[in-house]
Structures are given as structure tokens and as C-alpha cells.
């Protein structure tokens, strides 16, 4: 991985991928998500108002409970961690022009893989941590590679295969957790606890998984923009035909990118098992992969921007129950706010009517041909 990649000036904040719609300048690329979030909060506030609660009170409770004390902060970081990973997984796919809907399946498979590696072996701490994390990543990468290979060599839409693989993953881990890897002598479908040597520690209020997530996300910020391989990813995503002329193996890049994407989602699952849950239990990973889609779109496929996006989602999910505790508003309001955020950020509503960006596309490339 040399650093002699092409010089790029935009720091990745402008949009490299036709999937996301028109290209913006760096200012608008930051402003549009922020305005979208604010709009979503405004509409969510109307819903809250109709529930008989002052929206400002509600939002104050929501943010205070998440950011007001160390316990809240810890939970925000814990909840953001897997989301940064799944967000990154979707981002890497988008860069290559692939839509990885399957982060959920990859994460789940990796979560049970890491749990198995964590409880089945007895190794020195450093070795065990590396092994469990690595094994989880491998599971995620392998799971995603099915879709990558089919896309590259059989031209089968990765969207369809990853949707199918999600459903297969749910059934598979259900089977494993209730039979093969089940913790004996207790009724619940779940694996045994991982050994202490495979547990990711929390330093004060900072979970080490969160630190890993930050580092990985910064790494990909550098990797996608400054390295040759990253350049290949972006070129294939922007225009596969041009990439082919430039001598880039499109097939290889697609398979590699999908494997990397799966490994990232897998890292999310592994860190979740090793740092938060301590074992695999089916319901504990619900929705993490799907939130990744929201985050990647909110971050406009920028790896570093997944951090604030994931933290925002983490705050909302952390504050949801306190919101209900303090005001009686159902926690589902958070899902409505997130859906609206996604709508505003992805649909050209904000860009067209607030920032007056013309939606006409210049790029001749056909993203998913």
C-alpha cells in the first residue's frame, strides 16, 4: 500500500459516487446532512407535540440523558461503535459502486464467530483478542465475499444476494445458538460467555472498541483517498469502463472491496460480542447493520464522517428510553426521526429546495452496470 496515490484535494468530502446523487462542494456536503437532521428533528418535534409533550423538553431529556453523565456517555460510545463499523462497511461498498445491504448478516455471522473463538479457546490475552477479532472479521469477509464473487464473476446484483444472505444468516445463527454452540444447562439460546482473555476492556468511560472504531475509520479516510488501492476503489465506483481501460481489474477490485466491507461489518459484530455483550445472543444484534445504511448515507460515503453520523444515531438510541421514562413518549419516535433524516438527506428535498442544487447529473458513468 504505497502512498503515491493521486493527489486529491477534496479530503473526500465531496461525493465520489453517482449513487448519492449530484456532486456538491465541501460546504454543502457538510451543510446538507446537518440541515436534514434538523428538519427531521423538527418533524419529530411535531409528532411529540401531538403526544402532549413539549418537544423542547423532550429533546433536552434525550440529549441530557445521553451526554449529561459518564454513564450516558459510555452507552453512547458503546452504541456508536458497531454503527461506525457497519457505516464504514456500507461506505466502502458505495465507493466501489456496490450497495452492501448485507452488513446485518455479515455482522451477525461475525458476532457468533467471535463468540465461538472467544469461549472455545484458552489463549494468552493479546493472542486471544487478536484471534477472536480476526476470526470475526474473517467470518464477515467470507459471508460478504459470496456476494462479491457472484457480482464480479456472474454479474448477479449484490443487492439481491446480500438481502438473501441476511435472511440465511439469521436462520443460520439461530440454529447455531440454539444447538451447536448453545451454552449447556440453561434454557436460553445463546453461546457461553467468552473468556476474560478475549474480552475487550473499557478504560474509564472509554470502551476500547470505540477507540478501535475511530482508528479504523481514520485509516479508511486515508486509505480511500491516499492509496493506490483506494484510488482503484473510487475509479471502479465512478466508472467501471474507464477503470478497465486504465488497466484496473474490476473483478478483483469488486471482490476485494466486498470482502473488506464484510470484514468491517464483521469487526463491528466481533467488537460487540467481545466488548459489550460478552457472548452471542440472537436478539442482541438486531438492526445494527441496517442502521449502517442510514449512517453511510448521512455521511455521504465519507469514512471519517461516519463517526459523527454514528454518534448521532448512538445518542438517539441511548436517549430513547430516558425519553420514555421522563416524558412517556414511545421510544419508536427515534426510529421515525432517523427515517426522516434518511429521507431528507437522500431525497433531493433539502438540496433542491433549500440549497437550490440542480439535480442534473453530469457523470456519464452508470454506477451499477
Amino acid at each position: 500500500m504505497s502512498s503515491d496515490g493521486p493527489a486529491q484535494t477534496d479530503l473526500g468530502f465531496t461525493d465520489p459516487n453517482p449513487t448519492l446523487g449530484p456532486k456538491y462542494g465541501p460546504v454543502k456536503a457538510i451543510a446538507i446532512p446537518i440541515v436534514s437532521v434538523l428538519l427531521a428533528f423538527a418533524v419529530g418535534g411535531i409528532l411529540i407535540y401531538f403526544q402532549g409533550v413539549n418537544p423542547f423538553t423532550a429533546y433536552r431529556v434525550l440529549f441530557e440523558s445521553a451526554l449529561g453523565d459518564s454513564d450516558g456517555l459510555l452507552r453512547v460510545m458503546q452504541k456508536s461503535t458497531p454503527l461506525i463499523f457497519t457505516g464504514l462497511a456500507v461506505v466502502v461498498g458505495l465507493r466501489v459502486g456496490l450497495f452492501n445491504i448485507g452488513a446485518q448478516g455479515q455482522l451477525t455471522v461475525a458476532a457468533i464467530g467471535a463468540a465461538w473463538a472467544g469461549y472455545h479457546f484458552d489463549l494468552p490475552t493479546v493472542v486471544h483478542l487478536t484471534f477472536a477479532l480476526g476470526f470475526g472479521m474473517l467470518c464477515g469477509a467470507a459471508w460478504a465475499s459470496i456476494a462479491g464473487v457472484l457480482r464480479a464473476y456472474r454479474n448477479v446484483s449484490e443487492v439481491i444476494t446480500t438481502i438473501m444472505l441476511n435472511s440465511i444468516a439469521i436462520a443460520l445463527v439461530d440454529y447455531l445458538a440454539s444447538r451447536t454452540f448453545k451454552e449447556p444447562d440453561q434454557p436460553i439460546s445463546r453461546t457461553p460467555l467468552i473468556s476474560d482473555s478475549a474480552a475487550l476492556a473499557t478504560f474509564g468511560v472509554i470502551p476500547s472498541g470505540f477507540v478501535i472504531a475511530l482508528i479504523v475509520s481514520l485509516f479508511f479516510g486515508w486509505f480511500l483517498i491516499r492509496t493506490t488501492e483506494g484510488f482503484r476503489f473510487n475509479t471502479v465506483g465512478l466508472n467501471p469502463n474507464a477503470a478497465r481501460y486504465a488497466g484496473i481489474s474490476v473483478k478483483r477490485t469488486i471482490v476485494l472491496a466486498m470482502a473488506v466491507s464484510g470484514a468491517l461489518a464483521g469487526m463491528g459484530g466481533a467488537v460487540e460480542t467481545m466488548g459489550v455483550v460478552g457472548r452471542f445472543e440472537p436478539a442482541f444484534n438486531a438492526g445494527l447493520g441496517f442502521d449502517g445504511i442510514t449512517i453511510a448515507l448521512l455521511a455521504r460515503a465519507n469514512p471519517i464522517a461516519t463517526i459523527p453520523a454514528a454518534i448521532l444515531v448512538g445518542i438517539l438510541r441511548t436517549g430513547a428510553n430516558s425519553l420514555q421514562f421522563e416524558t412517556g413518549i414511545e421510544p419508536e419516535v427515534v426510529d421515525v426521526i432517523l427515517a426522516l433524516t434518511l429521507l431528507f438527506v437522500a431525497a433531493p428535498i433539502v438540496s433542491r429546495y433549500i440549497f437550490r442544487i440542480n439535480a442534473k447529473r453530469k457523470s456519464k458513468s452508470k454506477g451499477r452496470s
Binding site: R75, S178, F284, N321, F325
Partner: protein, 378 residues
């Protein structure tokens, strides 16, 4: 001002929910935006009434701003990853809590868990506000309850469906002998069937209470009617309790195969089976369904026509008894076995022969005094 409105709103919501158990489908539409404005007028009215009655009571805790004060009593409830209106155990536990709160003049509210990783933090929300008693619902919360009980020794915890391996003074597991209720239902089914074919549609057998209901049912049928052909199916673990269409389709299949008494047990999946059986032309005369957990005559009104009985875990009275015990200082700790049994026959009263009723009562008595074993291995 807002706080007052909120409290009034919560009280009304509580009342409505409580009323719901007896008068079935009163408007629990607390979520609909349209209905809210409409309900707001009633709110003030009812809240006013409420205040009048409450003033006559000695000590009424109106909010949770000062739960630590000795004259105030606060009860919290944390649901499993389900809603408090799930027509099943979350709802029943909440109704029990409301019942007790009403009697004590206590303040109560609930939090609905969305992410199972939040079990503990949701419990802590109540505990750190000095709630006196906290109800945690569902066997998946068992470990979180144990942890919370250790962290907050001054708070009493009631773990619904949580078997306690070790006795902790401030944590009582409210458990039930589901196999007994299932056995009694099976015994009745075996006597009621004319076709000698009896069916059952259940949530997943990976959840112990469901398995105990199902296998108790199986053994009960075999006890009263050794000839009967028994068909019992369990849903797969994924989405086991929220697949009413599957439940309905399975029930229909069993009906077609000639089963005339079918047990639907497992949240919305089982409810789907009950609703489907109620559609049968002979529902209530020669085709019957059996509900689970609570008296489903109230929770699934669509199934009233076929509902023979429900294999009941008396969650409402169990929860309420434990809350009262916690208030009185007679909190048992360890495990508290709530009562189980069969719900009233309601509309099918006339269809059940008198001698069957007597036999079933005898079996229930036998199960209670231990002279009859269900044969279910726990």
C-alpha cells in the same frame, strides 16, 4: 404545567389500560395523533375526578420527584423487548402493577425496552430515582435483574418469569408452573374432542415457558384421552411470537385434518391461530380454541366465539401480590410460584358438559396438591 398535564395523562393512560382488562377494547389509542386532541378533553375531566377520589385517600404519590420520601411510594416496570400493550405477559404484569399501585396510592410508570443491551440501564433509571419496587418482565431479563438487585440493595425487584437459582432477599422471581396449566388445558381438550384429534400451535420450544405449556398440554391430553391423535407444532425461534399469519395457517391446517380443539400459545403467533379457529363455522359448538398466559377472552376479542378457556398464569394477581408484599415488608425473596389454572369458559360455558367441568376441576386440584404429576421434565 406540562408536568401536571403529563402526570394527568399518565394516570388516565393507566386507568384506560386497567379498564381495558375488563371492558376489552376501550380506546387505548394513546399513540394516535388524531385521537390525542380528542382525548385531551376527556383527560381533564377524568383527571379531575381522579383527583377528587385520590384526595380522600391518605397518601397518594402523584409523581416520582421524591420517591425517597417515606410517605411516597413509587413502582417502576421495565418490559422485555416488547410493548406494554402486547396482550400477553408484559401487559399482564403492567396491569398487576397498576392494580397494586391503585390500592397503595402509589405512583407507577413503565419503560419499554427496545434494545436488550439496555435491560440494566432501564432498570437503573428507576432505581437511581429511588423507586421502591421495580418489576422486570420476562425471563431474558433474569441476569439484569440479579445485577440490579446487587447494585441497589435498598430496592425490591420482582422478576416475572425469572427463576432464581440463588436466594437474594430483595429479588423475587415470579414463576409459574406452566406445565400444570398446560396439563389442565390438555386434560380438558382430551375430554372435549369428538374427533379424537387435538392440535396445538405454539411459539418456539426454545423458550422454556412455551415448551412447558406445550408438553404439559400433550401429557394432559394423553391422560384424559389416550386414543387422541395429538398434533403439536412449534414456530422456529426467529420471530417466534410475532407471526400471526403462520399461526393462522397452521391452525387451519390442523382444522382441516379434523382437529376440533386447538391450543394457540405464543404471543401474536398463537393469537393468529385463535383468530383463525374462531372463523370456523362450528366455532364454539364443536370446534374450540384454547388461549394462553392470560384470559384471552379479554385480550383477543376476535377469538371469543371459539375460546374454550385459557391456560392461565395469574400474572396480574401474582405481580400485584408481590408488589403489595414489597410494600408491607413481607417481600419473600427467592422464588414465588404464582397460581396457574384455567380461565372461565365464558361463551362456551353451555358447550362444556357438567361432568367434564367436574373432572377438570378435580385434575386442577390434583395438580395443586401434587397428587398428579405433569410428567414434564424441567
Amino acid at each position: 404545567m406540562h408536568r401536571k398535564l403529563l402526570v394527568a395523562g399518565l394516570t388516565v393512560a393507566a386507568l384506560v389500560l386497567a379498564g381495558c382488562s375488563s371492558s376489552d377494547d376501550a380506546a387505548t389509542d394513546t399513540t394516535s395523533a388524531e385521537a390525542t386532541t380528542e382525548a385531551a378533553e376527556e383527560t381533564t375531566e377524568e383527571a379531575a375526578e381522579e383527583e377528587v377520589t385520590e384526595e380522600s385517600a391518605p397518601a397518594v404519590t402523584m409523581d416520582d420527584s421524591d420517591c425517597a420520601a417515606p410517605e411516597n411510594y413509587c413502582i417502576g416496570l421495565v418490559t422485555d423487548t416488547g410493548k406494554v400493550d402486547d396482550k400477553s405477559f408484559n401487559q399482564a404484569a403492567w396491569e398487576g402493577t397498576l392494580l397494586a399501585a391503585d390500592e397503595l396510592g402509589a405512583f407507577t410508570k413503565y419503560v419499554e425496552t427496545v434494545d436488550p443491551k439496555d435491560y440494566l440501564s432501564n432498570i437503573e433509571q428507576f432505581a437511581s430515582k429511588n423507586y421502591d419496587t421495580i418489576v422486570t418482565v420476562g425471563f431474558l431479563m433474569g441476569e439484569a435483574s440479579v445485577a440490579a438487585a446487587a447494585e441497589f440493595p435498598g430496592v425490591n425487584f420482582i422478576g416475572v418469569d425469572q427463576f432464581q437459582g440463588e436466594t437474594v432477599p430483595n429479588l423475587t422471581g415470579l414463576i409459574f408452573a406452566e406445565d400444570k396449566a398446560g396439563y389442565a388445558a390438555g386434560y380438558l381438550a382430551g375430554l372435549m374432542t369428538k374427533t379424537n384429534k387435538v392440535g396445538g400451535v405454539f411459539g418456539t420450544d426454545t423458550v422454556p415457558p412455551v415448551l412447558y405449556f406445550g408438553e404439559g398440554y400433550r401429557n394432559g391430553i394423553a391422560a384424559s384421552n389416550p386414543e387422541a391423535d395429538i398434533t403439536i407444532v412449534y414456530h422456529e425461534p426467529n420471530n417466534a411470537f410475532n407471526d400471526p399469519e403462520w399461526g393462522a395457517a397452521e391452525a387451519k391446517k390442523q382444522l382441516t385434518q379434523g382437529a376440533d380443539v386447538i391450543f394457540g400459545g405464543g404471543g401474536n403467533t398463537g393469537n393468529g391461530a385463535l383468530i383463525e379457529i374462531a372463523k370456523a363455522p362450528d366455532a364454539g359448538t364443536s370446534v374450540f380454541c384454547i388461549g394462553v398466559d392470560v384470559d384471552q377472552y379479554n385480550t383477543v376479542p376476535q377469538a371469543q366465539s371459539c375460546l374454550l378457556t385459557s391456560a392461565e398464569k395469574k400474572l396480574v394477581s401474582g405481580t400485584s401480590d408481590l408488589v403489595l408484599a414489597s410494600f408491607d415488608g413481607t417481600f419473600p425473596g427467592g422464588n414465588y410460584v404464582g397460581s396457574t389454572g384455567l380461565a372461565p369458559y365464558h361463551d362456551t360455558e353451555a358447550a362444556v358438559p357438567a361432568d367434564v367441568k367436574i373432572q377438570v376441576e378435580e385434575v386442577i386440584a390434583g395438580l395443586d396438591d401434587g397428587s398428579i404429576e405433569t410428567g414434564v421434565v424441567k
